[in-house]
Amino acid sequence: MAVTALSAAESKRLSPRLRKLEDERWLAMALLAPTAILLGLFIAYPFFEGVLLSLSSTRVGQPGEFVGLKNFHKIWDDSIFRTTVWNTFWYTGVTTVFKLALGLWLAILLNRHFRGKAIIRAFILLPFIIPTVLSTFAWKWMFDPTFSVINWTLFQLGLITTRINWLGDPDLAMTSIIVINIWRGVPFFAITLLAGLQTISPELHEAAAIDGARPWARFWHVTWPLLMPVTLVVVLFSVIQTFADFQLVYVMTGGGPANATHLFATYAYQLGIGTGLLSEGAAISLAMFPFLFVIVVVQLLYIRRVETR
């Protein structure tokens, strides 16, 4: 407590403004003010506006009036919206399983000493670093119906005889998008899980091996439980980003063919910005919120349970 006594005496010599900052509460308020202003203005306020917008009948250049839940009723009856909801869950679920499995595999491959490890690790992160839109264009070019290098390779290997129209068929288009999302997400999973793996003491593995545990058992009973806390947080981030994804689908298909590959964000964009139905667009965006909220709450509760175990 000598520190506070001294600082009280000390603060008498400071200017009035700085003296106020000696009080932790005032200092905290001053330090948090810029953040609070920016986040309030561009997150809290738009959220509030978005709710109002989704309850009105606003279109571009045409101020609307309050219509209650009419927009939500309308999208509920919209078959494209139902496809969108299904797509989003399918897209998020499938990509997350693959990203976790492949990312963990890659992390295990990287978790040993070999020459060139640093360089390989640096290169592996490239899909995650390079702006998504730009790398997705490379994929779009690789999936081009006429000039696809993937078709060329499959043809040369004798696996196909006619071209595959990757983005023209609804199921194939969805699969292509899923592949690209996995491609982009695996490095993030691998590098963060690798950091988790490196905190696990090798002695635990050696002890388990001496006790006769096979590699698979060692992974399942030693590595996996110890890695659980990191895994859960990584999955949480990935699920939210994937659920709310926009860029990848916008570039690859724009939601097509025949609105078969829309996610929440792309459909909201198409209606809200493309067609100018601002209220309906805002309603579709906001429809993500309850789902995201449940995902976050469930995940956070689960993380807490794992961490206190």
Partner: protein, 283 residues
């Protein structure tokens, strides 16, 4: 790690690793090949005879020249750089101060505010872009770089704050107390003692914030409309596709050149980037 015979190492480690690296890097190789391939070779059907997709013997700069001469590509690069730098600086400023307050000061509701920051950290941009577009228009910011400079911090600040909180928490309390016994004010102890110690964390947050702003797409797509205001991802998307016609050569050249600033920054600070990335997922 317990390792067995040489062949086992190849089958279980080296081959899968080579496969991973190949798949993860192939699209970039494809981008480079396409950038330097003349149009005549580019648009050969996939089953044309003697077609050699993985290499070209007639490299050309025509696509890159097209980009510089016929489009506003240079302008887009400058715009993106300016927006990314300014929004990164703003976010670092706010994030460092807020992170310090939340990690090292005792005040009412500190825990609640920390949770609030974590929640905003999880808010995706696609949730709010339509009302935000209206607000940007009402503030007369539409079609200016400021529409992005002021909105990018909404996802960068929570990230920087979260990361900085981790770094600040790791600094021992005694460091500050020593400075205060020597007569430094609370403010001075923060600015001259604690923040310099946290410089690695500031670098990590800054680099990730920079790459995130370079990557951002939906706000830039919605808030900007004139060709000379656009950022690289939006410019490439809207100006190199006319109706159904894709200008693949210039498109790939744009994708390649547009990735280079990010790749350079990343290559200089790989270790900081990785430590920031792994720090960002620590609960």
């Amino acid at each position: 790690m317990i390792e067995g015979a040489l062949w086992r190492r190849w089958v279980f480690y080296n081959l899968p690793l080579i496969l991973f690296v190949f798949v993860l890097l192939f699209p970039f190789y494809w981008m480079i090949v396409t950038t330097f391939r003349p149009d005549g070779e580019l648009y050969l059907p996939w089953n044309a005879p003697n077609y050699m997709p993985f290499w070209t013997n007639n490299p050309t700069l025509e696509h890159i020249l097209y980009l510089f001469e016929e489009t506003n590509f240079v302008r887009w690069m400058v715009n993106t750089m300016f927006i990314a730098l300014v929004s990164t600086v703003i976010s670092l400023f706010c994030g460092v101060l807020a992170g310090y307050a939340l990690a090292r000061l005792n005040f009412p509701y500190a825990g609640g505010l920390g949770t609030a920051i974590f929640i905003t950290y999880l808010v995706p941009q696609t949730l709010l872009f339509i009302p935000l577009a209206e607000i940007i228009r009402n503030f007369q910011l539409g079609d200016t770089p400021w529409s992005l400079i002021l909105t990018y911090p909404t996802f960068l600040i929570p990230f920087c704050t979260w990361l900085m909180m981790g770094y600040f928490k790791a600094i021992p309390k005694e460091l500050e107390e020593c400075a205060r016994i020597d007569g430094a004010s609370r403010w001075k102890a923060m600015v001259y003692i604690i923040i310099p110690v946290a410089v690695p964390g500031i670098l990590s947050s800054g680099i990730i914030a920079f790459t995130l702003s370079w990557n951002e797409f939906i706000y830039a797509l919605v808030f900007l409309s004139s060709p000379d205001q656009k950022t690289v991802p939006v410019g490439v998307t809207s100006e190199l596709i006319r109706g159904d016609v894709f200008f693949w050569g210039p498109l790939m050249a744009g994708a390649l050149l547009g990735s280079i600033p990010v790749a350079i920054v990343y290559s200089f600070f790989v270790e900081h980037y990785v430590s920031g990335l792994t720090g960002s997922v620590k609960g």
